[in-house]
């Protein structure tokens, strides 16, 4: 069984439509921006509806896992970090990173999205340290390494890259846009 770290688990098992979405909406209101919600439901229609609802309400649908009769939907609450101005000077494009992955092995890909986002799809060999845990886990990284930081759109990775630079890392690149535009190979949870 795959365990995915989330900020809140909503039990909507046994509830019929529209209740799974009604409760999801309510739970989402109580979460903070960027946090991840797991919705457990048995109503089969919830899979399509939760995706469509997430789209119209601006939240990020990460994916669904099936365990027996239970569907586990994962959603990340929309956040306003999309609007901030990026500050880290060294920027790499998705294409540049993809090219390097094919030719060069001497660097590290750091994925700073939430672990649930990482679980559903990530670049092979990428290290997962969510932005919120970076300060505590910075020792896991080597400040001599060349590091490419990725997130979904390039904003969280910008914050992470700045943080690393402050801590004395010198070879840090922010990958823009990151996973939202990634067309290269990924490791996915379902295969």
């Amino acid at each position: 069984m795959i365990q995915i770290k989330t900020d809140f688990v909503l039990d909507a098992k046994g509830l019929a439509c529209p209740m799974p979405i009604v409760k999801t909406k309510k739970s989402m209101n109580e979460l903070e921006e960027g946090q991840v919600l797991e919705v457990q439901a048995t109503d089969k229609g919830s899979r399509a509806d939760i995706q469509a609802w997430a789209k119209t309400s601006g939240h990020q649908y990460l994916g669904t896992l099936e365990e027996g009769d239970v569907l586990k939907h994962f959603l990340r609450k929309s956040s306003s970090d999309e609007a901030i101005e990026r500050k880290h000077p060294k920027v790499a494009t998705n294409e540049e990173l993809e090219k390097m992955l094919k030719t060069n092995e001497n660097f590290v890909v750091l994925d700073v999205r939430e672990s649930a986002e990482y679980a559903f799809s990530h670049i092979s060999n990428a290290i997962s340290i969510p932005l919120g845990e970076l300060d505590d886990r910075i020792d896991e990284l080597n400040n001599e390494d060349e590091i490419f930081v990725v997130c979904r759109t390039g904003n969280r990775s910008d914050l992470a890259a700045q943080r690393l630079a402050e801590k004395g890392f010198t070879k840090v690149n922010n990958v823009v846009p990151g996973m939202s535009g990634w067309t290269g190979k990924t490791i996915n949870i379902n295969n």
Partner: protein, 375 residues
Amino acid sequence: MAVNAMKATEVTKRVFNKEELFILDVRNTEDYQDWKIEGENFEYLNIPYFELLDGVEGILDKLPTDKDVLVVCAKEGSSIFVAEELSEAGLTVSYLEGGMKAWSEHLEPVKIGDLKNGGEVYQFVRIGKGCLSYMIISNGEAAIIDATRMTDIFTDFADSKGAKITHVFDTHLHADHISGGRKIAEKTNAMYWLPPMDATEVTFKYEPLEGGNVIKIGNTAIGIHALYTPGHTIGSTSFVVDEKYLLSGDILFIDSIGRPDLAGLAEDWVGDLRESLYKRYRELSEDLVVLPAHFMIIEELNEDGSVGKKLGDLFAENHGLNIKNEEEFRRLVTENLPPQPNAYQEIRKTNMGKITPDEEEQREMEIGPNRCAVR
């Protein structure tokens, strides 16, 4: 203001009578676009229920006040929720009892006509999915052709007519819906007939239905003549009933013809399909009334809700019967085909007896329109 439950049979009546109805479909847009309630004078608005959780004020001006409004969802829960919101806002609306699930399963029996020596032919219109089944009743006995999985409707109907079901047929191995034929036969001790060429992989016993078989229903000489007409499947068999009706299965429809690809052998079966439609059917009387196993569009319904038309009319009007060039015919039935029916592989396996999904799974497998035809 009130919230009323409207039953599928009432909606069906409005379809048959070409009455007006305003349908507020609150399923998600993808499901709505895939499959909805069709009526010639129906109007539609699709707003997913999850966009109405904070209230319905935003859509009030889009709803008519001079027409009945029916709120529709997948299983009824969300439509009740939305209907109640609308009711609180001062509107009188109905919701579809049982939702699209009930709509998909509703069968409306329509009498097609009387038989020469007494007896009747009934068509069961599965209005939500376009499947057509038949019951031939004569002198206390009944035969059923292409039954759907809602078997109680057939057995109850036969009971109400005081008829014992003695023969059950499937014109072919269906790929778009789950057959109720075997279950009815088991329940009533009737004989269950299948074309052997479609039944090579089935896991149960059946009577081999061959071209040339004549089966009598009742004491009177109501003949059911089997006619081998391959093309949709390799075993597809038509029936001529009482020298008046041609039950064409999925070979010939009113406004379209069968597609040969659902068992994966389109290229191989094109020639068979052409032979059946352009030779074997040509040898039959043009006065036969064609009764197909499906309709695709609501315009194919007659005034009384039945689906059927004289073979001669179809020779004149049906595009699929009027393609002189064989190459052009091949292209029509093998290229640019509509999407295959949902879960058609699983449905075929179910009809072979290889898998036994529970009722809920069967329902899920059948969701959506049938897609057995090409135009």
